[in-house]
């Protein structure tokens, strides 16, 4: 009960901060929109290639959504570093509030923002030729929430560990560009040579992207979707546990 109540309090505070300065919500949405308008048309002829696996937008938009979940949530740690510097986190840690709530309240805000951005992107993609069903939307949002949760918690955990923007920024850039390329987000990995595909299979986001794409096919292959959701859920569980412990631990 206490955790739920505290989570809500932190969520309200974080949401208030985001809404008072919503520029980052818009910035986070602009990037996928650029891809949609400026890169999507390039894909149309490529979609004819063998191995692409479907119509251009039904292959591309799910990957854009996953990318947005990844990049939208992985940088949230910067906001936490600012709060650490203001002393807000320390102030909260002296109260008897739930440590898990400090994490989940903030991650909840990130998920809410992500859901808003994703809805906007899906709606904007329909005129381009994205075909959706209720089932595909439900699956993709389940996936996005799990990925967002996992990445936000990873980012918060790293922020608590590094405590400096100067350390966090290069680390995130160094890690996430290869992860993005190896997930087959821009073009399906089925187009890649064997060795690259093999490395890609070790990347959890590969399964998330595959599951996201599968959700927009018909008929949907259940196995791929379940695998993607399972990988994303496992990743989220690990990062939540780790970051919640970091919030609880006494950090100097």
């Amino acid at each position: 009960m206490r955790t739920l109540r505290d989570t809500l309090l932190v969520f309200q505070r974080s949401m208030g901060q985001t809404l008072r300065n919503p520029v980052w919500v818009v910035v986070g949405l602009m990037q996928p929109i650029y891809y949609l308008f400026l890169f999507g048309p390039v894909l149309k002829p490529v979609a004819q290639l063998q191995g692409f696996g479907g119509s251009a937008y039904n292959v591309f938009v799910p990957a854009l959504l996953v990318q947005m979940a990844l990049f939208g949530c992985v940088f949230v740690g910067f906001g936490l570093i600012a709060e650490l510097r203001y002393g807000v986190i320390e102030r909260m840690r002296v109260t008897p509030m739930s440590r898990l709530a400090m994490l989940l309240g903030r991650a909840g805000r990130d998920i809410a923002v992500l859901c808003f951005q994703s809805t906007m992107l899906v709606v904007m993609s329909i005129p381009f030729g994205l075909h959706i069903t209720l089932g595909s939307v439900l699956i993709i949002f389940a996936l996005l929430v799990l990925i967002g949760l996992g990445m936000a918690c990873l980012s918060y955990g790293l922020a608590l560990l590094l405590r400096s923007e100067d350390a966090l920024a290069p680390l995130l850039n160094a890690v996430f560009l290869p992860i993005m390329l190896l997930s087959g987000m821009l073009l399906p990995l089925s187009l890649a040579p064997g060795w690259l595909r093999a490395i890609g299979h070790a990347n959890p986001f590969y399964y998330a992207v595959e599951a996201a794409r599968e959700a927009f096919k018909s008929p949907v292959a259940g196995g791929t979707v379940v695998a993607g959701i399972a990988v994303a859920a496992a990743l989220a569980a690990v990062t939540i546990t780790w970051a919640a412990r970091s919030f609880g631990r006494s950090v100097a």
Binding site: D6, L9, R13, G16, Q17, R20, N21, E83, Y86, G87, V88, E90, R91, M92, R93, V94, T95, P96, M97, S250, A252
Partner: protein, 316 residues
Amino acid sequence: MIETSGLRRSFTTRRGVVEAVAGIDLRVDAGEIVGFLGPNGAGKTTTLRMLTTLLEPSGGEATVAGCDLLTEPRRVRERIGYVAQGGATDPTVTGRRELILQARLYGMDRATAEARAAEVLAALDLEACADRRGGTYSGGQRRRLDLGLGLVHKPQLLFLDEPTTGLDPQSRAHLWDEIRGLREQGTTVFITTHYLDEADALCDRLAIIDHGRIVAEGTAEELKRDVAGDVVTVGVGHDTAEAMRLLQHQPFVREASVDDDGTLRLYVERGEVAMPQILRLLDGGGLTLQTISLARPSLDDVFLRQTGRSLRDEAA
């Protein structure tokens, strides 16, 4: 209210293990204002962070506000308030919002929290800026808001870490009044500072920490008396040597020395008792007294004696 025994904390750094707090025995009674003095790096903040559950001790025991620090940190948190050195407010959030959130984190429902926030804002003279963002506050306003956040839940025990650092004299005086007001309400206050005038003006009792250990403890008066009693400076023109001969072996003089300008400096137990005797002796010896002055040792003298360092240099 606070009782510690052998409380310590060490940090592992690249150069090995550093003992930041090397075993502290401390007792603070309910209703006291206790000052914790020490140079930078002496272990003040580390001790405070342990007592407020922010940092796990490496060893020792402590009872804070009636609860065991190590086994019941959550109950300790419910009973204490903490105002950190660097402040604790988000510049994009209004003071009122911060206070309401803080009150709710201590378990108050919305209506109670709003009422309590209004009460704190009024008590700390923050009503005019209550609904402005924290970033627009003056240094004194921000510090008062920090204080308000520490006491919004009416804690039995309040920890203040360097509460007036960086404030102008008027804001300091204002904050001191607030802190004294807390004692009248029965709140125990534990305050770290490196301003001696602050310790002198506010605290019932002082503890001086250096190199992670408490090196002296007592009321400001006791500590000052321990140093060397009072200092009487006597000017007798060219008869310094004669005056020295007359005075230096008197039982009430602990120590005597001659300053560069030829004045005599006498360390005595109690200056007000020694002065008439000095006058009489000099008169009897036929010497003409030109100047005489009495100085009480300052806390800085105490500090210098206990730590070998002057706090003035630290604060500068």
